[in-house]
Symmetry: C2
């Protein structure tokens, strides 16, 4: 097969590749990492490069304008080499890393009335064994088990071969006075985690971690298991982001070549980096962390554990496993004590994962007498409706519009993002607030919600989401992607380009909000209660931190009800993991929640499509559902 | 530090080593393997080399005669280099390998009335799962577990993370019609071994192996788990032999440097070589072997599992573990199906291991109403006295004299070994039988027993084991090692050297037999029954295959009782493993046997020393204990 030379601007030597090689592959050979948030499907356009010379074939130009192509742009994930070529890689948008370690969020409070001595399933006990003698030649392991049984009343203690290998030397090194750390679970009994000399253990910390693996952000809480106190917390973007921004892209990436191992290494690397940072800042030894309770959506859990996730994506959307048995840290690769327990919380379905069961736990929905709606809007929207007696749940494929993807000037809620917009009803001139008070770089989810709400209330948008071109403002214009409304003129932006929202962007946002609102409807219908009877709305997830409820109601994303019915709970997923880590009753309750939840598959539900279609309007086809919005429009 | 050059006759280049290097280490650097059966303690003399030139320092010359030293001999394990030297390594005695695979021993018979369908703890069941659909999105693992529970009534099935990883692809590859192989144990529940497409499994074999790890010989039986039939068996010297002939030497070897890993690799290599040979000969796929039941003495079990064995050797002689939990083949390194179960049978004490509990099981001692003595004489002598109601046991440090070690012309029961001797009472001329009908090379254990018995009955030996030098035969002479009796003149031997037994050899044999006989006494005394009331003697171990009971009684090794009381059971250890492999009731019985056995530590028992001293005579101080011998002497 013919071989061609590809030269990259940032690399001194041309790379020899066979005909038909993708530009991303050639770049990788040159050691150049091109980001592929969509997983190499040609959907996101983030891997665009400029072909300076040489014949290439573009398999797909979906995300490129005619002008782009004329300027030589090509999607590296979709373009194959057909001769010697010279390529310019534009500087990638570096993902800004945020570490939120220094402030203690209110969700990290110890539950009222909590007593670790009763509730903590991990225990460390000191055992003073009788030393063996010619009159008592009991083997080391039986000697330990007998003392353990006497002290705890627990019949059986499980240990690994490696732990048995280390037993004899340890017992003798501490003169048979040993501290034994073990975990208990109702399903699986007691499991040995660690043996230490008792005198050293007496002063040593006993820690655990709660891990929430978000598609975008990974959060770790370091917890003192002796008191239940959160010592410190840290968050970091999930390093998998560079291989796909949403779960579907990641699943596709994982299914190709060594993708699954790569994604696994990336998330394990993220987690271990956070653990290392937490240990360093708190002077904790990683070996003193003996348990990790993990939550995350179903795809994140599968990818972490190296379990193929492909079936999650394909009809009938089935997971490999929802209830994972207890694993050891060395099996999973998490850098705590190697025999530490990894307890993956149970999920319910492909798109309602452990993050939601943990979230429901943290929300205390189950101890509420009122009819409650629990929402976690992230890359997907998961919704739970229920009370102490029953729970129904569904997942809305809202898409990542609220995270800024699928919107031309969309971005994550980072520095430079427009996070709130106000529009003057006569001049149609906007004012806005930018995160970090810098020049604007794009619009994040909360900014988009408030922008659409303002445009609707000022008449810039009609019920159907069409931009009114007859209002005589220069902010509405025909742009390269159709009609658009300019939020920020080039002079006030970081890149010196106008920031605008297009008709297509509005459509994407309407579809996302309609999917979520339709989910509310289907859940309520499925149990035969009117949506209006919901007494409280609990909002979890990072999205809930930034959202403006009034605006969200105005676009028809959230149901119209008095403000005091809404509660923002922050990261309920990590708090659920924390509660399951520190409290055996809470751990059992997650299990009950997972089993009790009735999952409704929206894609198999005709009523969902009806509800979705009705919700594609601003705020809704049936305006009577949104009395406060109707009032504001008058 | 000074560096010296050591030249070996078989190696082209001199080796540079620092001063103080042991000759064995220098040899190893030259790629020359010098056998050290005693583990490098200078006890066996097998590593003797000849120093042609150069200064060396001999730390120990225990096993060298004055003549040897004058001829330049040195023990490579005890001699350090102190200048440039030239060394001649005598050709090592190659260990002859025997493979006993072609004849089916009687002990391999299926127990009467055995029905695998009831008794076999491993099961393979076919499950036809309902394929998932939009109406049934149960996860793969729960789907499998539910079908499993319905079919078997067993609540919980344990699986490893790796098995869960492979689950989804497998279920889909066989259209949800799957064969599930699992093991059950009362203590640990059901454990998943293997999933296969059901159609392929229907025809596939389902095999297990019983493994007996002897200090000298490893035996493996390949068993059809569907019927309980022994398909084939194979034995091979334990490759650890080159690192020490007895358990003590091996423990010492294991405690130095990387010795434990080396010994582990050697025995795993031996086992895997046997499995490979069995698979090849029977056209069995290793993956179709799903369980290994393992027995062996306590040291062998520890070394196999990589558990430090040092405490076995040191007072108070305690093991790390007697009851090992079920392990997986990949953990242990045994080359069957990687998720296959490794079931190590329980031992009782440092010197009464799983080989003895398995032996007692195989001997059916527990179902006997009679007072029974069970003996397994190998490198050590383990004895069990009991009946269906109680069991006492002890281990006699008989040493390896009966395996030919510690005796100048001693050797194992290999080709060239004198295995039986008869002496003419008037001429004192011997006749003998040699294994393989070849020129004699040495004397094996059974040969030594018959030789000593004949010498005693003909008056060549007195009660105290002294050789009578007054009988006027040229066969009795003063040799380089003291008084000796020549069994074979040089002309009739393989090496052209006289084969003789010395006074020291006789002493070693007397000590070995006295230790065992004293063990009988202590056991009988400990439960207050006279030894004479024993109704049957069951002899296990390979030693039992060759022993001549009459001769063994004559030297006072076995108690004097009618011949019909003796039963030879062959390798009871491997048969016990086989029974535990095929029958869950037998497996539970081994557990009961291990728990029921009262272990008596002889080294802490004063009555043992008295009994031992009394038994150091031929046949015994108290001749009335040996009426048949008394009669033969008249």
């Amino acid at each position: 097969m013919a071989e061609f030379k590809v030269r990259f601007d940032s690399h001194p030597e041309p790379i020899a590749v066979p005909a038909g090689t993708l530009l991303v592959e050639a770049a990788r050979l040159a050691g150049i990492e091109i980001q592929q948030p969509c997983g190499g499907q040609g959907r996101c356009g983030r891997c665009a490069v400029r072909v300076e010379s040489g014949p290439v074939r573009r398999r797909s130009v979906l995300r490129l304008s005619k002008a782009d192509i004329e300027a030589g742009y090509a999607l590296a994930c979709q373009t194959v080499v057909e001769g010697d070529a010279a390529i310019v890689v534009p500087p990638p948008e570096a993902i800004q890393r945020r570490l939120t370690t220094d402030q203690m969020a209110p969700e990290a409070a110890i539950p009222e009335g909590y007593a670790a001595s009763d509730a903590q399933p991990v225990r460390r006990i000191a055992l003073r064994l009788t030393a063996p003698s010619m009159g008592d030649q009991t083997d080391d392991w039986a000697r330990l088990c007998t003392a353990f049984r006497r002290e705890t009343g627990i019949e059986r203690l499980d240990a690994t071969l490696n732990q048995i290998r280390e037993l004899g030397a340890l017992l003798r090194s501490c003169d048979w006075h040993v501290a034994l750390t073990f975990d208990t679970s109702p399903a699986e009994g007691a499991r040995l985690i660690r043996l230490q000399p008792a005198d050293r253990a007496a002063e040593a910390p006993l820690c655990g971690i709660a891990i929430d693996i978000g598609t975008t952000t990974v959060t770790v809480w370091l917890v003192d298991l002796l008191t239940g106190r959160v010592i410190r917390q840290a968050s970091e973007y999930n390093q998998q982001i560079a291989r796909g921004e949403d779960v579907i892209s990641r699943i596709i990436y994982a299914s190709k070549g060594d993708g699954a191992n790569e994604l696994r290494a990336l998330v394990v690397g993220t987690i271990n980096g956070l653990i290392e940072a937490l240990c360093k800042r708190t002077r904790t030894a990683a070996d003193d962390i003996v348990k990790a309770t993990v939550t995350g959506n179903t795809t994140m859990m599968h990818l972490l554990l190296g379990i193929p996730a492909e079936s999650i994506r394909l009809e009938p959307f089935v997971t490999a496993i929802n209830h994972v048995p207890r694993l050891s840290a060395s099996d999973v690769g998490i850098a705590i004590h190697p025999s530490g327990i990894v307890d993956a919380l149970p999920g319910v379905a492909s798109y309602v994962g452990a993050d939601i069961t943990a979230g429901v736990l943290a929300s205390e929905l189950r101890s509420s007498e009122s009819l409650t709606l629990f929402i976690d809007v992230g890359t997907n929207g998961e919704i739970v409706l229920g009370s102490s007696e029953w729970l129904v749940t569904c997942a809305c494929s809202a898409g990542p519009a609220f995270e800024g993807a699928g919107v031309v000037h969309g971005m994550r809620a980072d520095k430079g993002a427009i996070e709130e917009v106000w529009i003057d009803g006569r001049s149609y001139e906007p004012t806005y607030r930018v995160i970090g008070n810098v020049a604007a770089r794009g619009i994040c989810g909360s900014g988009l919600i408030s922008l659409v709400a303002e445009m609707f209330l000022t008449g810039l948008l009609d019920k159907g989401g069409h931009i009114d071109q007859t209002l005589g403002t220069s902010r509405v214009r025909e742009g390269p992607r159709g009609v658009e409304y300019v939020v920020a003129w080039a002079a006030g932006t970081e890149r010196g380009e106008d920031i605008a929202i297009t008709r297509v962007d509005v459509d994407n946002l309407l579809r996302a909000k309609a999917a979520i609102y339709a989910g509310f409807n289907v859940l309520a219908d499925s149990v035969g209660v009117p949506l209006e009877t919901v007494e409280q709305v609990l909002i979890g997830g990072s999205f809930g931190k930034y959202i403006n409820v009034e605006k969200a109601v105005q676009i028809g994303l959230l149901p119209d009800m008095p403000w005091e019915h809404f509660h923002f709970l922050g990261n309920t997923s990590v708090r659920g993991a924390y509660l399951a880590l520190i409290d055996r009753a809470a751990r059992e309750q997650v299990e009950t929640i997972a089993s009790a939840m009735t999952y409704i598959e929206l894609s198999a539900d005709n009523s969902f499509y009806e509800a979705f279609t009705s919700a594609l309007f601003l705020p809704h086809t049936d305006l009577s559902r949104f009395p406060s919005v109707e009032a504001a429009m008058v």
